[in-house]
């Protein structure tokens, strides 16, 4: 177990190194000098240029530059945003909370709903409900999440006028206390639903296929032969074995979710990192863009390592 955990943690560290190395290479390879990439194309302040040159050691050999870059990055210095004239790290961390709110709510809802749908479909394989669920899951799996978001806006905001289509709070009113939170929830409904609808198929499929697979295992037949009730077999033996892949998928899909949420935030003008990203793209604010890429990649790596360790503690077979 200890060996496995060490291996996974090392893997995570390696990933983070890969991420930073790729970023370093991208700055090098991008058209124009790396300085103008960091400074912004329209900026030509000689003082800033000199300061940046000294900071990143552009007069040093390439390999040394790489280590200077790593040192800066690991001490939390991701550079300065051109637009906001603030530390990239602080800008991103300000926007992280609304993003996390969306991601975590959606992930939990999707895993619960998707798994229950999968369980039902596996129990009643071949039934009309199963066919319906499978068909629907194909469809939502192929949908660009941002487009689904737009369609939900058309239906629920534009046509029916039920839900707000943008923002996190209604800026025209100044609500406090419970009303404030209710307003946030009202604004969350559409973006969260979009994410949940797109994520459900992943959990549905994995839950269904692993339950069907477990049901066909020999030990289930044996248990049936002992006369144990189907319900007990299902709850006590099938579910425990079949739920494990869901945990792995949870880690992987968190990666997708963290990516996907950026687009959804843009659709719903949700004040999170995705919104920040769009501004950074439009204004060519490369340090912010790179900062978002780095922070997102590191968090995905972290989530995956944690999920793998959780998986290993739950499944004794994996501790090799």
């Amino acid at each position: 177990m200890k060996k496995y955990v060490t291996k996974r943690v090392l893997m995570g560290v390696l990933t983070i190194f890969v991420v930073f190395t790729i970023n370093f290479l991208i700055i090098r390879l991008a058209p124009g000098s790396p300085i103008s990439t960091i400074m912004g194309k329209d900026n030509d302040d000689p003082l800033l240029r000199a300061a940046l040159e000294a900071k990143y050691g552009f007069d040093q050999p390439l390999i040394l530059q790489y280590f200077i870059y790593l040192k800066n990055a690991f001490s939390g210095d991701l550079g300065l945003s051109i637009i906001y004239n603030k530390e990239v790290l602080s800008i991103i961390s300000e926007r992280l909370l609304p993003t996390l709110l969306l991601v975590l709510t959606a992930a939990l809802l999707a895993v619960v709903i998707g798994t229950f749908m999968g369980m039902y479909a596996a129990k009643h394989e071949g039934s009309r409900v199963d066919v319906f669920f499978s068909g629907i899951s194909y469809m939502f799996n192929s949908m660009p999440a941002f487009w689904l978001g737009l369609i939900l806006i058309i239906i629920f905001s534009s046509v029916l006028g039920l839900l707000p289509s943008y923002g996190m709070i209604n800026s025209r009113t100044s609500l406090t206390g419970v009303d404030y939170y209710l307003d946030v929830i009202r604004h969350m409904i559409l973006p969260v639903s979009t994410l949940v609808l797109v994520e459900i198929p992943i959990y549905f499929r994995i839950a269904k296929s692993s339950i069907v697979q477990t049901l066909n295992e020999d030990f289930i037949v044996t248990l049936k032969a002992t006369g144990m009730s189907e319900r007990k077999i299902f709850n006590k033996y099938v579910l425990r074995n079949a739920i494990l892949p869901t945990i792995t998928i949870f880690g992987i899909s968190m990666g997708y979710l963290i990516t996907g949420v950026a687009l959804i935030e843009i659709v719903f003008a949700w004040p999170g990192t995705g919104d920040l990203m769009l501004t950074a793209i439009n204004q060519r604010d490369y340090p912010t863009l790179m900062g978002i890429y780095l922070i997102m990649s590191v968090s995905v790596a972290l989530v995956m390592v944690v999920v793998d360790i959780i998986y290993a503690t739950l499944d004794p077979r994996i501790r090799f």
Binding site: T15, A30, E125, G126, M143, P144, W147, S158, M277, M296
Partner: protein, 296 residues
């Protein structure tokens, strides 16, 4: 029917195998739908210029026409372009991105994975760890960053998607190579004095390529979604018509002209579904363990 078929193919193993595959294709619903859809898409892409009622690049006087207004079946956008014609031309862009990026991804993946699996040992260890590390990097942000920094031409989009999605292919072919290199025909090739390179390209890769094929079709659907997402962020190629860009442009007119975004999205859903179905179907047909169940 069955008996006559049996009688026909006695002793003709190759033919029998081929027919069995055909039979499998016929019995696999997913593959059947996928192939039909693909045929439609390819047809539309090839004959796009004959199928369109208007020139999709023509900025006409009919601005924000509703469905059916002035013979525009699906209306027009804010620049007076015909939505239906744009969607038809968009098939080309999507298929191009899908095929181009999938090819790049497959070639890189096959080479790296094949080398890792065939040579084994330390080479394999290093490559596998690198593949695992790469698989944990969220590719979309990486693609986005590169496209934002470099240039957002459709060729670039294709190359970058290809360059970032090869690890899953590499993993598949590596697993195949690990088992194939232990087969007798590889061992006899070694004994015959064939070089490693010959063995890799003559035996390992051709015999281990099938899982990559199925994975590639799924990679194609992801490529289409990625291109659409990039376009939606305003990072699309402004010189080509793409569905993602149509959604991006239609976003501003969502309440007044819903048809701009909606139909482009429907086209994406259709195309991506086709590739998903193909991938799943191929997996079923190529996996001998899979028995097709009725209704499942």
């Amino acid at each position: 029917m069955v008996t006559s078929k049996k009688g026909l193919y006695v002793g003709r193993n190759e033919n029998k195998k081929f027919n069995r595959t055909l039979l499998k294709i016929k019995s696999d619903t997913e593959l059947k739908f996928g192939l039909t859809g693909l045929t439609i898409l390819v047809f539309v892409a090839v004959f796009a210029s004959l199928l369109v009622p208007f020139d999709p690049y023509f900025f006409g006087p009919d601005i924000l026409n509703k469905l059916g207004e002035n013979q525009h079946i699906l209306g027009t956008n804010h620049l007076g372009q015909d939505i239906f014609s744009m969607i038809i031309y968009g098939v080309r862009t999507s298929l191009m991105v899908a095929v181009g990026s999938a090819l790049i991804s497959a070639v890189i993946g096959i080479l790296i994975g094949g080398i890792a699996g065939y040579f084994g040992g330390k080479i394999d260890l290093v490559i596998t760890e690198c593949i695992n590390a790469f698989m944990m990097v969220p590719t979309f942000f990486l693609i986005l960053l590169i496209i934002a920094l470099f240039d957002s031409s459709i060729t670039n989009v294709m190359i970058v998607i290809g360059l970032t999605t090869w690890p899953s292919n590499a993993k598949l072919i590596r697993a195949q190579a690990l088992s194939i290199r232990e087969r007798t025909y590889v061992k006899s090739a070694v004994a015959m004095g064939e070089t490693n390179l010959q063995i890799l390209f003559k035996y390992i890769i051709p015999n281990g390529i099938f899982p990559v094929l199925a994975n590639t079709t799924i990679g194609m659907s992801n490529a289409i979604l990625t291109e659409a997402s990039l376009s939606f962020l305003g990072l699309g190629d402004p010189n080509v018509i793409s569905w993602g860009q149509m959604i991006f442009m239609g976003k501003q007119y969502l309440t007044s002209a819903w048809w701009i975004s909606t139909f482009a999205g429907v086209a994406i859903v259709f195309t991506v579904t086709v590739f998903y179905l193909l991938g799943d179907g191929l997996n079923h047909v190529l996996d001998p363990k899979h028995k097709s169940r009725k209704g499942a």
